[in-house]
Amino acid sequence: MAARKSTRKPNVSADELLGYYRDMLLIRRFEEKAGQLYGMGLIGGFCHLYIGQEAVVVGLEAAAEEGDKRIATYRDHGHMLACGMDPDGVMAELTGREGGYSRGKGGSMHMFSKEKHFYGGHGIVGANVPLGAGLAFADKYRENGRVTFTYFGDGAANQGQVYETFNMAALWALPVIFVIENNQYAMGTSQQRSTSTADIYTRGAPFGIPGELVDGMDVLAVKAAGEKAVAHCRAGKGPYILEIKTYRYRGHSMSDPAKYRTREEVQKMREERDAIKHVRQLLLSGDHASEDDLKAIDKEIKEIVNASAEFAKESPEPALDELWTDVYADMAPQNA
């Protein structure tokens, strides 16, 4: 099956554009705040920021319908905010507090929301890919017309289980969209140094899975591609691959000195390709919003994010007996 390049559809309403602007800005400001709290020692361990990649998840969420599922990697804060999870609960999980989505037991990489159909938050590179296909298997079994967005990175695309999953997903025509967020690096390894062929989206072709390369710095292009993929899955035609070219501005995790790329490379992306700036320009040049309108949104977002940080600082640490709960769904906590 031939892979196709996506084409951009520019016709979009002001409300929609404002919505994307708002959602992307929320992720960016939230992540900046998380970075700050990490710097203050309030967040520990691994913390992978999504700054730069916001258009990917916001564009795809715009293509999703109520009941569709999503499953992500450890770089998951953006995915949670975009699907409507509460910033307070996410931030409080980052600080390891009782008010967090996992009551402090999961941390940055392990959060879930059944209500928002968000299935994690997974720390093992590649492992969430068969899990996503399994969610789609359950939907197909139930014949409920739902679609699962399974997100993973360019580095993860080299894991064997990804191809085991491609095979089964195609064989059983599972309604799963494999979203490869190609931010061009896996920790310090650039795609060229890890991957034998440049175009990851073509890697489904041997399994009969159509793939598409998408500009991940353009939220409208992402949304358009997402709609196509969703339609394909809902029509019962099986899985679809979206390789979304994007860029992470920050280090892999908080302790990454980022010596594997130049400051100029990062600056160039920020200045010339930033997804939020792009929507901002569309809004202003199309007379959809004034500078003042956007300022008001900025202010509103800042308040939400500050409130989440306050909540995450104020929320108490989990009670010590939390250590023993949730090991089993049906057994009293025990210590043999």
Binding site: R29, E32, G35, Y38, G39, M40, G41, G45, I51, K69, G96, Y101, S102, R103, G104, K105, G106, H110, F112, Y119, G120, G121, I124, A127, P130, L131, G132, A133, G134, L135, F137, A138, D139, Y141, R142, Q161, E164, T165, N167, M168, Y249, R250, M254, S255, P257, A258, R263, E317, L320, L323, W324, D326, V327, Y328, A329, M331, P333, Q334, N335, A336
Partner: protein, 463 residues
């Protein structure tokens, strides 16, 4: 209000660093994401970015300063409309700020308090209710048939239960355990998979997250090593990591342990491996009635269950109660034989050696109490302790390797909980500490033998 820019922690372990270089100067306007300074940690030089936008009002720590503690104010940022005069000269001294933040931030090492163990209930009395009521009709059935019946009954009762694995459908199971299931339930619920253990184990776990109750068959547990990450990291840990939100009701099943003459890669007992993992339940039945009753319980369990069967036992026949819905609870051992001289604890195929040894020992006047654990997690410690308190001696029997064996765990628990009752050390009988050889005579020696169990009992009873 002016904003203080604090010395950031740039790694999970950083406590202080060198402010190597300022990349902005007083009066510069900055936007979030702009690089403010370079900071040297013990590991690397890192760039430090602005979070808020504004104007650099004052630089508090000059470049080149070493040993700047995390959370010390290093600069002051002015918001739109503010001037450097707004900088509050009574800004808290670095030390004070550090102390404040220190109090707020949980120290990396955690608090001094140690988590209390949950109220350690006094060893509960063992549950000694019989597995089936007196007068129940019994029928002879093989372990294979019992497992098949258990799956079929549960699939009839709950349409979210399905079976997947290699050769489970059209071939009727590599060991014929799923005989007839495809005919009754169709290809939607009895799913042949490609040879792709890692992938289909993960897919099964995802289906369980998505609300189904998968039974995932591994052709043998040896091949599940390719999937062990999904079993442990995805299935066993998610309930905990999600604070109780996302459970994983799934059964992983298949033959475990040595078959016959299939050599090292196809002959390993995983009981001790999986028994170690919190979040998993582990069943390892010996008889057909237990295979049936435990399998039904496993399928209904809301947690991931590792179900360890045995190829050699598949064809053995046992009494199985002829009841509509026969289940066996997890965590309840079965006493196969009563005796006062020694306790023999085993499970799975180990029971073959345990019972044979007990039979022979009885001929010499040594009466062994033989306990089948049936499930290794949860493990019925009360039944073992009660028996050991009576016999004062214990021998354990399993096919797995000695180091970190089920027997060594039992020995440690018995030593801790029943030390004063012991008249002899607990003796674990295990497989030998070697990969399984192919040659018939060597294989026999590599496995635990009835003679070794008898020998161990004689040692423990000084007879």
């Amino acid at each position: 209000m002016t904003t203080e820019i604090l010395m950031p922690a740039l790694s999970p372990t950083m406590e202080e660093g060198t402010l190597a270089k300022w990349l902005v100067k007083e009066g510069d306007t900055v936007a979030s994401g702009d690089i403010l300074a370079e900071i040297e940690t013990d590991k690397a030089t890192m760039e430090f970015e602005a979070v808020d936008e504004g104007t650099i009002g004052k630089i508090l720590v000059p470049e080149g300063t070493e040993g700047v503690k995390v959370n010390t104010p290093i600069a002051v940022l002015l918001e739109e409309g503010e001037s450097a005069d707004d900088i509050d000269s009574s800004a808290p001294a670095p030390e004070a700020a550090q102390a404040d933040a220190g109090e707020e931030a949980p120290a990396a090492g955690g608090s001094d308090e140690t988590a209390p163990a949950p109220a350690q209930a006094k060893a509960p009395e063992p549950d000694e209710t019989p597995d089936w009521p007196e007068g129940t009709t019994l029928k002879q059935q093989t372990v294979r048939e019992a497992l098949r019946d258990a799956m079929a009954e549960e699939m009839r009762g709950d349409d979210s239960v399905f079976l997947m694995g290699e050769e489970v459908a059209e071939y009727q199971g590599a060991y014929k355990v799923s005989q007839g299931l495809l005919d009754e339930f169709g290809a939607k619920r009895v799913v042949d998979t490609p040879i792709t253990e890692h992938g289909f184990a993960g897919l099964g776990v995802g289906a369980a997250f998505g609300g189904l109750r998968p039974i995932v068959e591994f052709m043998t547990w040896n091949f599940a090593m390719q999937a062990i990450d999904q079993i442990i990291n995805s299935a066993a840990k998610t309930l905990y990591m999600s604070g109780g939100q996302m459970g994983c009701p799934i059964v992983f099943r298949g033959p475990n342990g040595a078959a016959a003459r299939v050599a090292a890669q196809h002959s390993q007992d995983y009981a001790a491996w999986y028994m170690q993992v919190p979040g998993l339940k582990v069943a390892m039945p010996y008889s057909a009635s237990d295979a049936k009753g435990l399998m039904k319980t496993a399928i209904r369990d809301p947690n991931p269950v590792v179900f360890l069967e045995n190829e050699i036992l598949y064809g053995r026949s046992f009494d199985v109660p002829d009841l509509d819905d026969y289940t066996v609870p997890f965590g309840k051992a079965r006493i196969w034989r009563r005796g006062g001289d020694v306790t023999i604890v085993s499970f799975g195929i180990g029971m073959t050696y345990a019972l044979e040894a007990a039979e022979k020992l009885a001929g010499d006047g040594i009466e062994a109490e033989v306990i089948d654990l049936r499930t290794l997690r949860p493990m019925d410690i009360p039944t073992v302790l009660k028996s050991v308190q009576k016999t004062n001696r214990c021998v354990t029997v399993e096919e797995g390797w000695p180091q970190g064996s089920v027997g060594s765990y039992l020995a440690s628990v018995i030593m801790r909980e029943a030390f004063d009752w012991l008249d002899a050390p607990v003796i674990p009988c295990t497989g030998k500490d070697v990969p399984m050889p192919y040659a018939a005579n060597l294989e026999k020696h590599a496995l635990v033998t009835t003679d070794e169990v008898i020998e161990a009992v004689r040692k423990a009873t000084y007879r």
